[in-house]
Symmetry: D2
Subunit: 255 residues, 4 copies
């Protein structure tokens, strides 16, 4: 058994997938299915959850089967993000949420000052808050001290597909954290997801890498295997890197 | 169906594993099983295949179930390698073989001049020859023209675990090849294997990454998933890398 | 002419060097001389500036010739950092200062919440504040809005010598900034310094890379050339990367 | 004094520059001047050295001041390359030459089989042969045994500007060589040149990085500083990489 727990809930899959940028809800649902995810994150401002005259995500991705994780994509202030999550809780009863307070529209980088403030208020308000954040170990510690249910540093800018830019910082965050750490944003291919898991992360959240692949359902399968591969690789304990048969190499510095 | 073919034989698994450096044949066999491999490569000079007074690899890894791929690890001349493979064919009937002619003991880098000569002779001699080689696209083309059944460029020095050092050259070799291309040597972790497959390789061969992991059987499972993940990621067609919402970025050069 | 300006002062050299970890002040002075630096940064808590019974840095590195930039190395709270800089101003008249408020001792990563607060107070207090900070473009913008004289993101942990870990974020910070941006921390070798400058930074600050080289004075010379090289390379406008003679390559994604 | 020697000739500059792709010979000459190079390499098939009715390179880049290094760019067989160099020797008396035998037009990767054969014949013929080659340490050793005056592995494909792709192999070649090793091809920016020198190479040869920069003369200056910086950085002995203040870090594997 290698399950993990966030806010008292236990999951087997370590891959969280999104619900944006798909051609339609049918493709989205097929990708979610192929990914093996148990949690799907939903931008509550962008996804139709209530207007029955339009297609409803919930008709395709069953909220009884999947844990819905409402997120605040598109919110640029703490107030806006908090209002959005409170409405979501009233509407759907969702208490486990993903907070993101973005600094500006070009990079979608988090505003950590407002993120920390919103985390504190939402925790006081009884939410279980998974928090999108900078790859900043000091800020990550403050979020954890404020009661965050999970720390979710970006691997690279949202939607960039550049892969994990700063493994050193992700690893420092993982080392110190007592709550789950999940890379959120930046994964572009399967190997990127495996790298995130090999750093010791508890999971990976992604949307664009699957939604914008030429074949999203096949990429979802790829990511399922990648997260599993990276997790097993981390647990199995990798071989030592070396340069040649003789490990007492002066080339050590290159590795 | 996404099987592949080498020398007229068809395989489903794209992971080839080794039989060196394990604690014993039992662990080796358990790792082979966990890896899902259909082909196991055997250093005919190092593995006991005939002396019934000692443990026999064949009693643990069933040659009826797995395709044995004899290799010439430890051979430093074309003549030595050819002699070894001829003896192997006489002893076990093995016709599909992996040729490696090493340049020297420190790096175990291939001697491409002798490798090309041995390939030609072995092909003339009726062998199906999978060839360990440099990540040199011109040499790879010559091997193919000489009748090699598969091209197997090193990703990094044998036993180094450094990962794919030169993806540009591996990709050039993949682009031009009409026979299978498999990365042979250099993989250290699951993400390395996924990278190899995302470059479009037909498969990956590894030994040390599994044998020297703290838990070889778990690492074998990791590698099974990693090769599958990388293959699916390649086939699914990854998203475009970008730096921010506005793709017409002056940062393009960074990607 | 390619000089740059911070807080109304104009400099030709884009390399700022430190005064810690040297064998003695004589070696330090020789390294400063070889580096061509016009600004030297001084940890006011660690360097002897006043006790005439001990060797004084000012006897070796002439404050009339070099601009002294007092810094708050070793300060873990905003209050501590502000007190240190106020004492330094009283003692030496230094108004141009480098603020660092560290989050904890293991990584020496900045505490951005306290850093922002201290920046605001120090600016109100009439200081010209160059600010050590995370590679966080939103936090960098806030520092600039608070009146920071220069933004100094870390390239990698202080004293690590790992080189620029996240060029994408450094570049985003450079793109948006209207005050000088200097990489502070993380440079280990000359090529690292050149990379920082090629990203468009206005300068580089380093200490350990020079002080802990086997030959600090020669490394100081190396760094002088490296900063000049990187600056010229940035200004000259580099060639386009390509994979082969035919630029319409399907390999584009690899670059 | 940090001069170096090839084929009995001593040079101070470790940067060799080319004479192709420039707007005209005047810009070329200005770039050569700015680079500080003492050796310029000339594609004897492409540069006008004899037709006095057309502009002559020699009128701009004085062969009395600079060592001309004829090269065989554009030659795809050993015979073609040897014929070219023999004509060059007859015409200009040039005995120190750069051999390149290209495998095909798309990648301009060397054909190492023909390169080795041509090296042997040219050495027998009395030439001092600097040899463009793959980053293959076994082939490099054979070239040296055949009498090559210098080993010149590619850092990346000619004209690609991708930087040093395989530092591990370049370093292995440097470690074993008794003749000078120079990176030839692949440098795109100043930091790339510094990296090559930090690996311990004796020099760097480049053409496109300078010729295709927006400002070739400024880039030539950048490269002069970069080669000097990398050389000094190598000689000065870089600091140890580490992850934090405590060097006994479990993160060691990341470095």
């Amino acid at each position: 058994d290698d399950s993990w727990e966030v806010a008292g809930r236990r999951f087997t899959s370590r891959l969280i997938v999104g619900t944006g940028k798909y051609k339609d809800y049918a493709v989205n649902a097929a990708a979610v299915e192929a990914s093996g995810a148990e949690i799907v994150t939903v931008a509550v401002r962008r996804v139709n959850l209530t207007d029955r005259s339009q297609p409803l995500l919930t008709d395709y991705v069953d909220p009884k089967r999947y844990t819905y994780l409402p997120n605040t994509a598109g919110c640029f202030t703490a107030e806006d993000a908090m209002r959005t999550l409170r409405l979501a809780r009233e509407a759907g009863g969702w208490n486990l949420v993903k907070l993101e307070v973005l600094g500006e529209a070009k990079t979608l980088y988090p505003d950590m000052e407002q993120t920390l403030r919103a985390t504190k208020e939402l925790v006081n308000d009884g939410f279980d808050v998974m928090v999108y954040c900078a790859d900043d170990p000091i800020a990550a510690k403050k979020l954890e001290d404020a009661g965050a249910a999970a720390i979710m540093p970006l691997g690279a800018p949202i939607g960039s597909g550049l892969g994990i830019q700063n493994p050193v910082m992700i690893r420092l965050i993982v080392e110190q954290a007592k709550v789950p750490v999940l890379v959120d944003a930046g994964v572009g291919s399967a190997s990127d997801a495996a790298v995130a898991m090999e750093l010791g992360c508890d999971g990976v959240l992604m949307n664009t890498a699957i939604a914008e692949a030429k074949d999203p359902v096949m990429m979802a399968r790829a990511m399922r295997h990648a997260v599993e591969a990276g997790r097993l690789s981390y647990r199995a304990g990798r071989m030592q890197r070396r340069l040649y048969a003789d490990p007492s190499s002066p080339l050590g510095g290159l590795i």
